[in-house]
């Protein structure tokens, strides 16, 4: 029994030494392989943007679009080279002024839409903030009480045909939330007509009174 034991221990011991070195090399190789596979998995498939992407809700002018936080209806866009802001100042532009009336019905709780931008037909993004020359300030809308606000943005005439308007809730971050994408249905004819128009457009402040449609 003792001989068998000694022999058994001997086999074990020698095999143990070899296994230790093989195990070390194998473990190291496995770690490197895991890192390489992990790197490939993370970089090979560009899912980051898709996972975080906004939920784009397409719509057309005049048809309401339901977002998580509000129901939005976009009215007919108008354009000119002169804009009357209804607070005493008249703005000119090297391009064309575009005004778009919007009707906002908040849902669930009061909402203040803070994000707007125009994706021009020329591929550029014309940003609209809550103040400044190109601005959109609807304020906080009470649920069920429609809010009427006008967006104004200055763009080169070439950006108008095929332009899309995007409206969202958070000004800084629209990831993983609904964003309305409205095809304004503008053509080159519209752009040409407005680029020579000098009758001032009116873009007043927000209101809960339905605006007079002229």
């Amino acid at each position: 029994m003792s001989t068998a034991d000694a022999a058994a221990t001997g086999v074990e011991t020698t095999a143990g030494v070899r296994r230790t070195r093989i195990q070390t090399v194998g473990a190291g190789a496995a770690v490197l392989a895991a890192l390489a596979v992990g790197h490939v998995v993370v970089t090979a498939f560009p899912v980051d943007e898709r996972v975080q992407a906004s939920f784009v809700r397409p719509a057309a002018v005049g048809e309401p679009v339901d977002l998580r936080y509000a129901r939005l209806t976009v009215g007919s866009p108008r354009g000119s080279t002169v804009l009357d802001t209804d607070d005493g100042s008249v703005l000119t532009t090297p391009g064309v002024w575009l005004t778009v009336p919007l009707t906002i019905e908040a849902s669930g709780q009061p909402r203040a839409l803070g994000f707007a931008e125009l994706l021009g037909g020329d591929g550029r993004t014309y940003r609209v903030f809550t103040g400044g020359r190109s601005s959109f300030l609807p304020g906080t809308a009470q649920p069920g009480v429609p809010r009427y606000a006008t967006l104004r943005v200055e763009v080169p005439p070439g950006a108008l045909p095929g332009a899309h308007l995007r409206i969202g809730l958070q000004p800084d971050d629209q990831r993983r939330d609904d964003v309305a994408d409205i095809d304004l249905g503008l053509t080159t004819a519209d752009a040409d007509a407005w680029a020579t128009q000098v009758t001032p457009l009116h873009a007043g402040a927000w209101s809960d009174e339905s605006p007079e449609r002229t």
């Binding site: 068998a4 022999a7 669930g108 709780q109 009470q142 649920p143 009480v145 009174e209």
Partner: protein, 220 residues
């Protein structure tokens, strides 16, 4: 030959199975997984959960509810400790000065009786009514042409202490305003769409805790 057989026999007798060797680790695995998920989900709480009304203190019709909340102000603790009773929710008989109701909406007046120590900071409150579906219609001080008090839960002429702003407190202190009474009534007006039945009234100072008061049946 016999050596290798013995070796193999020794190996299979001495070494316990994988499951037996790792039984504690396997048992701890679901616990560790849950803890990891909870720990990595802390932003669900800080970035989403605490930014809405989540923790109610409810009151039945006609009940006086005590609402307490520990709040840390700019300088020290500014706890909220107040007793509130919802008296009536009804259509406002007279609109606030200069208020113009948009088409399709009506003005709802909420009558509340509150009582608190005069040195409790209550001026930073928000008020809303909710319908059965849970939609929240908030009180707006400057809206629809009217100028109602900024804080709907304290008397307009004696709002009591304001939340501390640290060094600016001495400059901003209004020494003329009288101390707030221990019990007072307020009647803020909220604009809601037609056809909305008020199910409850909610009052809050700092989310996520809030006070929920069941509204009595509609009276005209």
């Amino acid at each position: 030959m016999s050596t290798s057989t013995t070796a193999r026999t020794v190996a299979s007798d001495d070494a316990p199975g994988w499951w037996r060797r790792n039984r504690w680790a396997v048992a701890a695995l679901p616990v560790a997984l849950t803890l990891a998920l909870v720990a990595s989900g802390d932003r669900v709480r800080t970035l989403w959960w605490i930014h809405d009304l989540r923790v109610p203190t409810t009151g039945q019709v006609g009940e006086t509810v005590t609402f307490r909340q520990q709040v840390d102000g700019a300088v020290g603790a500014e706890p909220v400790d107040v007793r509130v009773r919802l008296d009536r929710v009804h259509d406002a008989a007279t609109l606030p000065d200069d208020m113009v109701l948009p088409a399709g909406s009506r003005a709802v007046q909420v009558d509340l009786t509150l009582s608190a120590d005069p040195d409790i900071v209550l001026a930073g409150c928000s008020l809303a009514v909710r319908d059965a579906a849970g939609t929240r219609y908030e009180y707006v001080a400057l809206g629809w042409g009217a100028m109602q008090p900024v804080a709907p839960c304290v008397p307009e002429d004696a709002p009591g202490p304001m939340p501390s702003l640290g060094d600016l407190d001495d400059e901003l202190a209004d020494s003329d305003s009288p101390p707030r009474p221990t019990t007072w009534e307020v009647s803020p007006v909220i604009v809601v769409p037609d056809g909305v039945e008020v199910a409850d009234v909610v009052l809050w100072w700092h989310m996520p805790q809030y006070l929920e008061l069941e509204a009595p049946g509609r009276d005209t």
